[in-house]
């Protein structure tokens, strides 16, 4: 591996890893609070990028900086509302039902989002407009280092630090931790559990919407099924790090992103085998994930 190729592969791995981490946070936070694997979360990524596409092609004539900012804001707002509505309509009625019912519902919601997107936008992949500056910063060995991966990593890390502060230092953040640990006791503290769950979905969807812009920009195209693959990889990242654990999701996202990128370089035939194999090994050695705490089920 040439040094220049190594550096660029490293940057690409970090870029992919930060997108996985942003999505994995949504999985892990929702799991932490309602013990649900929200399989529709990957599709929120798809919805977010279609909203940006729609704003920048249909609503605004010119793709000015202001238009781009409004488009991203619209994607965040739309995804947040969608996430809350999905929870209230599809998951809330099943809160006390067996977990498998909610899980199947989540898969159903995922399919519904994909099919609705196909009906509205068609199944072909559509070019995604340039939202984030992607200029060549400098060249090593004729290979350009671009700004998009750097911006992606920086913004993601800032968001993760902000999330960490929010969860640990603010009152709503404490409420989220309380609900995730003991919903009944949290209600006795005067916490409105439903509002707290909505807040969790809202935060997860905000991160997914931001991630969607980075991801769609990286791929260059959007299509209705674009959310499944990063969704699954992010889910693996969350499980790898310890589902329910916020630092675990960040760690998992970066590990899976880096691993995927480097295995793609050295042995692209085996990339999925290596990623899924690692997951199996981690679950065998540490069933609760790298940073997860082994919690005994309450009887």
């Amino acid at each position: 591996m040439k040094p220049a190729t190594f550096l660029i592969t490293l940057i690409n791995g970090l870029q992919l890893g930060s997108v996985y981490a942003l999505i994995a946070l949504g999985y892990t936070m929702v799991y932490g609070i309602v013990k649900l694997i929200n399989f529709a979360h990957g599709d929120i990524l798809m919805v977010g990028s279609y909203v940006v596409l729609f704003m920048l092609t249909t609503v605004f004539a010119a793709q000015t900086l202001l238009a781009k900012v409004i488009a991203v804001a619209a994607a965040i707002v739309f995804c947040v509302m969608l996430g809350i509505v999905i929870d209230r309509v599809a998951y809330k009625p099943l809160r006390s039902a067996p977990r498998i019912s909610a899980l199947i519902t989540a898969i159903g919601v995922s399919l519904a989002l994909q099919i609705i997107a196909q009906l509205i936008f068609g199944s072909e992949q559509i070019k995604f407009p340039q939202v984030i500056l992607n200029e060549t910063l400098f060249k090593i060995d004729k290979k350009p280092v671009k700004s998009l991966p750097i911006i992606t990593c920086c913004v993601s890390v800032v968001l993760m630090i902000a999330l960490n502060l929010f969860v640990n230092k603010t009152k709503p953040g404490r409420a989220m931790r309380a609900v995730s640990e003991d919903m009944g006791a949290a209600r006795l503290m005067g916490i409105n559990v439903n509002n707290t769950i909505s807040l969790t979905f809202a935060i997860g969807c905000t991160l997914a919407a931001v991630g969607s812009v980075f991801y769609a920009q990286k791929v260059g195209y959007v299509k209705p099924l674009m959310g499944s693959l990063p969704g699954i990889k992010a889910f693996i990242a969350a499980v790898f790090g310890g589902i329910g654990s916020i630092p675990g999701a960040v760690l998992g996202g970066f590990v899976i992103g880096m691993l995927e990128t480097f295995v793609n370089y050295f042995a692209s035939q085996y990339v999925d085998a290596v990623v899924y194999g690692l997951l199996i090994v981690v679950l065998l050695v540490r069933p609760a994930g790298m940073l997860g705490k082994a919690v005994r089920e309450k009887v």
């Binding site: 591996m1 040439k2 190729t5 660029i8 592969t9 690409n12 791995g13 870029q15 992919l16 997108v19 196909q118 068609g122 199944s123 072909e124 992949q125 070019k127 060995d141 004729k142 290979k143 350009p144 671009k146 991801y215 990286k218 791929v219 260059g220 195209y221 299509k223 099924l225 674009m226 499944s228 693959l229 990063p230 990128t261 480097f262 793609n264 370089y265 692209s268 035939q269 990339v271 999925d272």
Partner: protein, 375 residues
């Protein structure tokens, strides 16, 4: 009493009239992924077939009856395709045009072989597609054939000595291309210096592309579809491969509409095709004009293959003089037709013998005929 008798008689006559009318069409079934990740091909084939049906019916139909064409969506899924095919059989179709992608076509052709249903696929190009029975045909050329031509083109026209390959190993179509390309390359002395896998739907191929770039090949062969190619092209440029020619299969068709205004990405792109808008044949010209007038867009390869598949089937039914399965199959065997993709006959394996076009892109990103390779 008399009145009742007359009324009853009239009713019976009416009923027979109505039922005779219902049977007065030639029912042909169509299978195509109209939704899902490969719908881009399915919809293109459908448009070509629909145009052919319209043209045939405008000229008096088949066996003096109009063609009634029934579509089913297979979503590109083999299991789903078989159940859709069984629905079509339940509708009493006399022949099948479909499916479009390789895996569902193999599944459906295995079923069609059991009953001898005359069937033709517009675009499934893996070798084993027509294996299950002698009633199964295809309008497109074979994977091995076009990948072999591609290797030949790399050496003869581009003067390449080394090649880097990227292919999707999770797909029958791209895997078939890869095997054939490697076999031909070994035969003609084209050295493979890098072999990488790029599976459909991935966001980032830059690691594999980076490894190919490190090997510094004279040319790259990409056994991929247009959607993946569109994602890969900017990443190839970022890896410093903007000067290296990129050759691919007919799955590249439509990549120009994918990349949109970034036409510089296509400057060194070539693909093998059974169709070119620059062809000079009479049938091709009239198809291009008519199709463009109807849909407002110039036809693509998959439009043309859909058109040819339908025309071959209609001509065979006409030549058979009946809708008997055996008669139609015999007529298909004897096909000798001028289609939108050139002159076609069938070999012993029911594959068409036809010319191959190598397509490139001009400064505005429009497809142009680079060269023609005759069989």
């Amino acid at each position: 009493m008399k009145k009742i008798l007359v009324a009853a008689l009239a009713l019976v006559m009416l009923m027979t009239a109505c039922c005779a009318m219902a049977e007065d069409t030639v029912k042909i079934g169509g299978l195509s992924p109209l939704t899902g990740s490969v719908a881009v091909y399915g919809l293109a084939v459908q448009a070509g077939v629909d145009y052919a049906v319209e043209e045939i019916n405008a000229n008096g139909g088949v066996l003096g009856k109009p063609v009634e064409f029934i579509w089913r969506d297979d979503q590109g899924d083999p299991a789903y395709a078989v159940s859709m095919y069984n629905q079509l059989v339940g509708e009493n179709i006399v022949a099948l045009v479909g499916a479009v992608t390789t895996a569902p076509t193999i599944a459906v052709f295995n079923e069609a072989a059991k009953t001898g249903m005359p069937a033709i696929t517009a675009s499934a190009s893996a070798y084993e597609v027509t294996d299950p029975g002698n009633n199964l045909f295809r309008a497109c050329f074979l994977d091995p054939y076009q990948a072999g031509i591609a290797a030949q083109f790399c050496v003869d026209t581009l003067g390449a000595k080394t090649v880097g390959i990227i292919y999707d190993n999770a797909n029958d179509y791209t895997l078939g291309l890869y095997d054939a390309f490697v076999a031909k390359a070994a035969e003609i002395g084209l050295e493979v210096v890098a072999t990488e896998v790029g599976v459909a739907g991935q966001a980032d191929y830059s690691a594999q592309i980076g490894k190919i770039a490190d090997a510094e090949p004279d040319v790259i062969y990409a056994a991929e579809y247009a959607q993946e190619l569109a994602v890969m092209l900017p990443q190839m440029f970022d890896a410093g491969l903007d000067e290296t020619p990129l050759v691919g299969p007919d799955g590249f068709s439509g990549v120009d509409s994918q990349v949109g205004s970034d036409v510089e990405l296509l400057a060194n792109c070539y693909y093998t095709s059974a169709f070119s808008l620059d062809s000079t044949g009479e049938v091709v010209k009239s198809f291009i004009e008519g199709f463009t007038a109807k849909t407002g867009a110039a036809p693509t390869l998959f439009n043309a293959l859909g058109y040819d598949a339908m025309k071959i089937m209609a001509a065979a039914i006409e030549a058979a003089g009946s809708t008997e399965k055996e008669a139609i199959v015999a007529a298909l065997d004897a096909t000798d037709i001028e289609g939108a993709t050139g002159h076609m006959t069938f070999d012993d394996h029911n594959d068409p013998i036809k010319s191959v076009f190598v397509i490139s892109f001009d400064e505005e990103g429009k497809e142009q005929l680079e060269t023609v390779v005759e069989p």
